[in-house]
Amino acid sequence: MRFLAFGVALLVVLTGCNDDNSQLSGGAGGTGGSGGAGGSASASHCRNYNANRQPFFGDLHVHTKYSLDANTQGTIVTPHDAYRFAQGERLGIQPYNEAGEPLRFAQIARPLDFAAVTDHAELFGETEICTNPDYPEYNLPECQFYRSQPENSFVFFNLVAVGLPELPQFPVPPGTPIVSDAPVIGSTGSIPRLPYCGINGERCLEAAKTPWRDHQLAAASFNDESDNCGFTTFVGYEYTLAPASNNLHRNVIFRSAVVPELPPATQEYPRPELLWAALTEQCKSEDGCDYLTIPHNSNLSAGLMFETKDRFGDDYTAEFAQSRQKNEPLAEIMQAKGQSECLGTTGASAADELCNFEILPYNNLTGDRFNGLNTGPPMEGDFLRSALKEGLVQEQKLGVNPFKYGFIGSSDTHIGAPGDVMETANFPGHGGAGASSSGEGLTDVIEGNPGGLAVLWAEENTRDSLFAAMRRREAYGTSGTRPIVRFFGGWNLPLTQCASADFAADGYVNGVPMGGDLPARPSSAGAPRFAVSALRDPGAAGDPAEPLQRIQIIKGWVEGGTKMEKVYDVATASNNNPAVNLATCETSGSGAASLCTVWQDPDFDPAESAFYYARVVENPGCRWSWKQCLAGGITEQKCADDPGSVPEGFAGCCSAFPKTIQERAWTSPIWYKPAGSS
């Protein structure tokens, strides 16, 4: 008993004394940032650290077998498999043959830099052996420790699960709960593998077996903390609030390995503000924990995502708005269930023809399952451009902008295949709410798409550096491709910035990057300038991408209380003439390999709050659905001449649904606040 208790004490001391996770991991090389919140200059850096920041591509919305209820096709992919896939390894997916071997395979041509598996927290449950008094282990020291120090027990259980290297002895500080009267043992100063986990560690392993723990284990398995910094994982989950199937889901992303014992979920916290309060309570920065939430699919929230009332039906207060802004710096502008930028069918954005892009024909998660019951046409207020404008209105009223969102994309894959987001014929379907993997037909509902990517401008590929980028919104989302986009705003950006030796350095020195706030306007300044530069996605074998067509800057502002928007074309590829051959999917049109411009707002009024974001649009190519139609032998000719012969699974091929797509990127906005406003 005392031997056991000593071991527990050792771990208490270890976890208590060391806030540097790399030491606890037993030998991981020094990296940038596991100690401090901002990547201090004294921490050692990754091999390819870049003080001017570089783009990292990732997926922050991934479901595996632990998302039980979304898992209608028998996905057996685990978080471990999902992270392997993200790093470029091949993954077998359903269906399976008689020997249990997968009949389909998926693999991405270009690995991701980071990923987060985010299964639904509502189904995680808790570990039973230490919380159920019927179990004999309930009273063992490690279970007492677990119940009294839940925030340390993850580290404890997982170190033990794989065995510790020889450790030096540590004196036990007086007053340590449970075990402070245990003697120090051993004269060699070494501790063998701790025995109270059972002969083969099965007791501790059992405690480690809940889905939440498996998430953490998988994230720890694949987070590269050496100075190679090859890949970063984030522990995360999805908070699945959906009243009457109106989507209010949020993904919760944690910065480090220190996370709550059980992630707060909708059963106990049925409104976002309750979720944030719970996370604030359970994820404290002084313990090394930090989080942010990312709402997704506002396009499917039937008016709820950006309503300006709290759960009691009262208007937002400044405090409420502040909480929302602080906890949610980013929103998903693109994923498998459509885009949430702007609605192209009605309202102010109907004038922007590029808004007619990957729009779902319904306004919540019911979709077309019940013949139009419980759903309706999409609503403009659910889209981010409209929400950003409303945010300016709220800011004028309350002094704080509750809807100050940067943009990212992700996939929302339900088959554990993060980053499989290019428009190819081998898109396996995102699973979950999509179609099943049948042999004859499209692999997903036609209005679905492979999803998008999150791109973060950060100094290096570490959790701290990437998370800091998310916090300051230096991020952009893409619809699946990988163009590289920079966006800066300022009062004195040099008009020749595009020809400068270092575009980015000029931007940082003279202004703010995407996601930032324009500095206070000097009285002598005219209109703000915005510098935007984009390199096309170079593509890869199996991942062809189109050249750039144009860059636009979208401005939203409030004029005398009225919400306004305007789209400016600021850079266009010349002599382009883009075209797509629908019989072969060959594309033509030179497009531009890169575009760059410095633009000054010609309609600027210093008295009006505003935001500006850049949208970089590629030349058109075939959409995934049309590529699958062609691969299945369905052509335009066949649809016209012999529609009866088209199998039901390919019925969408002959519909009016778009056959081509113009992939794009959306930068996080830069905000302007008039001087003297509250």
Partner: protein
Amino acid sequence: MDFTDLVQACRKLVTIAPALRSPLLHFIVLGGGLYLGVGMWSGERALDDRSVRVEAHDIARLRADWIRDTAREPSAAELQASLSRHIDDEVLLQEAIRLGLDRRDPVVRDRLLRNMQFAFPESRHDDAQRLAEAHALGMVTRDLVVRRRLIQVMEQRLEVGIETTDAELRDYVARHAERYALPARRAFQHIFLSKDTHSGVSADAETLLARLKAEAQSPVERLGDSFLMGREFPLTSGEGIERIFGARFAEEVMAGPERDWFGPVASPYGLHLVRITSSEAAQAPDFETVRIRAAYALRHERAAQVRRQMLAELRSEYVIELPDSPTGMQP
């Protein structure tokens, strides 16, 4: 002892403790006995009842599922395999119920309660009553979420005795070099000529290259066009270079000569003249650095094998009953 003795014993008992005569006490004892007795009998399988019954309609459903997923009929071997997996699931489910997990697991409880709330929104019963009703309705074996949860929880319980030795870890790391090894890296400078702004970009590139080779001190910073990602790259892997410049450029740079300017090398953006400033060869994985990650990953892989083994053992303790009419299927 005979009936008379029994009556006498009863009389003695009753005279010893007059309280024992109380009808209320009898009522409580009898009622309690009935309550316990009913509790033990109704809806609960006896603790040693380990059997799985497969019906003809189960096999028909498995066939239909296969057709839905693959658009063709399953072969005899495929259908057998489907049945085998179905039986595995049923064994795990029955074992979970036998161990009482259906009553204790918080996810199952929550799901059953939500189902009951949805189906009977006006019910005024408390949680315990609703759960009993849910069990009586057979929801535990029929609700998809509950089934998957119980099967998953049981699967996890089967993962015991997974060990990884140092030797095995070293071997695992060596076999997964592509995951753990350090890639070759190159640092380089480049001068960029954009194809969008040079009409004769090839000629311009050749001219510039000749000049660079001739003049030792060319002001490199002022030559060529601006490139968004800069002119200098620190030690970067081939994959990192490919991300920005495409595959062809990355290949040429990783294979190019060191120190001298070479090119022109093509990228989707135009042509580049390149000078490698330093190189690093690929390195075998550093075991200590990747040890914990490899241990987690290997353990995860082993867990799958162990699970299969333990499941086979568990299954051997079950009686599998197939449909009465011959189907050609084996348990």
